[in-house]
Amino acid sequence: MSVAIQTHELGKSYTLGVKGPGYGTLREALVEAAQRPFKRERREKKAKGDLLWALKDLSLTIESGEVVGLIGHNGAGKSTLLKILSRITEPSAGYADVTGRVGSLLEVGTGFHPELTGRENIYLNGSILGMRKAEIRTRFDEIVEFAEMERFLDTPVKRYSSGMSVRLAFAVAAHLEPEILLVDEVLAVGDASFQRKSLGKMNEVAKEGRTVVFVSHNLAIIQALCSRGILLERGEVKTDAPIVEAIDSYLRTLERAASDDLLERTDRDSRAYDETLVRRLEIHDDSGGHPNVVVAGRPATIAVEVTEHLPTMECQLTIVNSLGQPVCTLDSEMSAPVDVREDEPGTRLECHIDSLPLLPGRYRIDVIVKAKRHIQDGLQAAALFDVEPGTVGNRPIAAEAEGDVVLPHSWRLPA
């Protein structure tokens, strides 16, 4: 077997500016340039201290035909690695040898222009993904058929529903024939039937002997598609093993992360404003008992402690099953008459559930706290909890019940 990707002590560092990446002002740069000759030494020292290594000493070999899942927390370096492999950004140290044509499945509609029609966007997007014009022409009908949108070909994409854009984007990408396919969290969108179709296509690609490097938070998809898993932690390889082992290892780190002091977590939402931080998150059974152990069908409360009071905070909680698939989202912004907004400032947000409709098993809670119209803090796996067997609506839960939820219900049956 030949080697598709080989990295050698690959590293990527970012300089942490006071203001964060992107916006410096020209004035600052000019002032600094003028002062530079006088304070060279200090500057260099400072620059070294502020380096953040998003990837460090990464040496990997991926054989051609392997389907590899990259897993890890936010900020572990998964996306940085994909960015280097797809040449979007340069490494700062080491090198990566890539053999074969690389294609990326991108976020939905990247490179789509809203003013252009579906037809025009197929050509634009195809060439953005690295297809030859002639190649797009020969596959055009296939692409249109896969996306199921013959009728809308000459409609500007801005009039498409988001589902349609996703279908079109994926259809173009799926007909790309790279030797190496890089996929970053794209299958999380689209309706269920299209997702299934996309997964089928991914499977097909993998079976054709092409190399796939796959990043997703959805462990179920990763497990279904990949044979090998690489767990990254703080820019380094933590585990490189068959996919099941790698996922186990990741779940264990999640557990550890959730039991640590949440303020020490560094894998926070990158969009966050950080004016207030989540200090603690807990779910408990209202009748007492251990925190983070709840009984199915009983009332439960999820409590979020933040560090600072901010006016009109909102909270969004997502309960996720052990394979990384979201089960439900509880969002205070979707307000209801039963919600209570206290008169006093405070740092505790509570979400009450009358009867916890979850099947026994292990779940995690992702949290986003918003205020002043911005995300203030976000954490995945802020808490892990176990649901113990119980009764829902006085009905016991079947041992062989499938899925994640159990609904209160009643039957009418013949004699």
Binding site: T89, G100, L124, R132
Partner: protein, 277 residues
């Protein structure tokens, strides 16, 4: 398909290695074409008047300039009708200023692409300039219609037009490339460019003839590449006066220097775009 399977080593690069790699540009030529096509289509798709804008802007300026500078201020136009005199200059000038304005914003405006996929980044400012050729062609045709209507007949000098356009495009690409790169890190560029373009209009002999400037300043002023282009355009399209080869020559050299410096700077900073945009 792109080139057959070969191994690409991705590593920190030094020196000039990206923009100035012809193989790389050739490999992505289809994308370059699609980007230029997109820029052209999008520019006209949602505007009510479409291609008319390419004409309205220089014509509008021509009317205003003729009234103010021609009539009120009585600026010299070397004996030519002032509207023709100014329009012949405004056609290449509009091409140049639009290229600068849109080109300097091109990387930031396409940040979604720049941060998500690889392609030679120079395609962004270059695509804008290529798209500008369409506007230029339309306004050039209108200029020629007006020239004929006024009873002028262009001489063989008109064959110099492609050369003049090339000088203007080279200068525009050099400057737009550098500005677009700076814009990625310092958004100040957005505010500076419109202002700088207005100033530039007045140091270029658009509303006045360069013959009004005393030597040696007249010749020296041609290090502003648009001096040669604008004066050359008048000579080439109106078929009158002497060929300003001295100005055109100096401007061509200046444009090449600007192009080289702009591309070199672009090349130096290109590798970090995705980290900043």
């Amino acid at each position: 398909m792109l080139t057959p399977v070969d191994t690409l080593r991705l590593q920190p690069t030094r020196g000039f290695s990206r923009v100035l790699a012809p193989r790389e540009l050739w490999r992505y030529r289809d994308l370059a074409g699609q980007i230029a096509l997109r820029d052209i289509t999008v520019r006209y798709r949602q505007t009510a008047l479409g291609g008319a804008w390419a004409v309205l802007q220089p014509i509008g300026f021509m009317v205003v300039f003729s009234l103010i500078f021609g009539n009120v201020a009585g600026l010299s136009s070397n004996g030519l009708p002032y509207p023709l005199f100014s329009l012949a200059a405004l056609v290449p000038w509009t091409f140049f200023s639009t290229a600068l304005l849109l080109g300097s914003d091109s990387l930031v405006a396409n940040s979604a692409l720049v941060s998500k996929i690889y392609f030679p980044r120079i395609f962004m400012p270059a695509g804008v300039i290529v798209a500008g050729f369409v506007d230029l062609s339309i306004s050039f045709v209108i200029l020629m219609i007006i020239v004929f209507a006024w009873g002028f007949v262009p001489s063989v000098a008109i064959l110099a037009v492609p050369l003049l356009v090339a000088i203007g495009a080279a200068a525009a690409l050099g400057i737009a490339a550098a500005l677009s790169a700076i814009n990625v890190r310092y958004r100040d560029v957005r505010y500076v460019v419109p202002f700088a373009i207005q100033m530039w209009l007045f140091i270029t002999p658009v509303v006045y003839p360069s013959s009004q400037i005393a030597e040696p300043w007249r010749t020296l002023s041609a290090i502003n590449p648009m001096v040669g282009v604008v004066e050359g355009f008048r000579w080439a399209t109106l078929g009158t006066g002497n060929a300003p080869w001295d100005l055109i020559g100096i401007s061509a050299l200046a444009a090449l220097v600007i192009l080289g410096a702009g591309l070199a700077y672009f090349d130096r900073v290109e590798r970090a775009f995705a980290d900043f945009v």
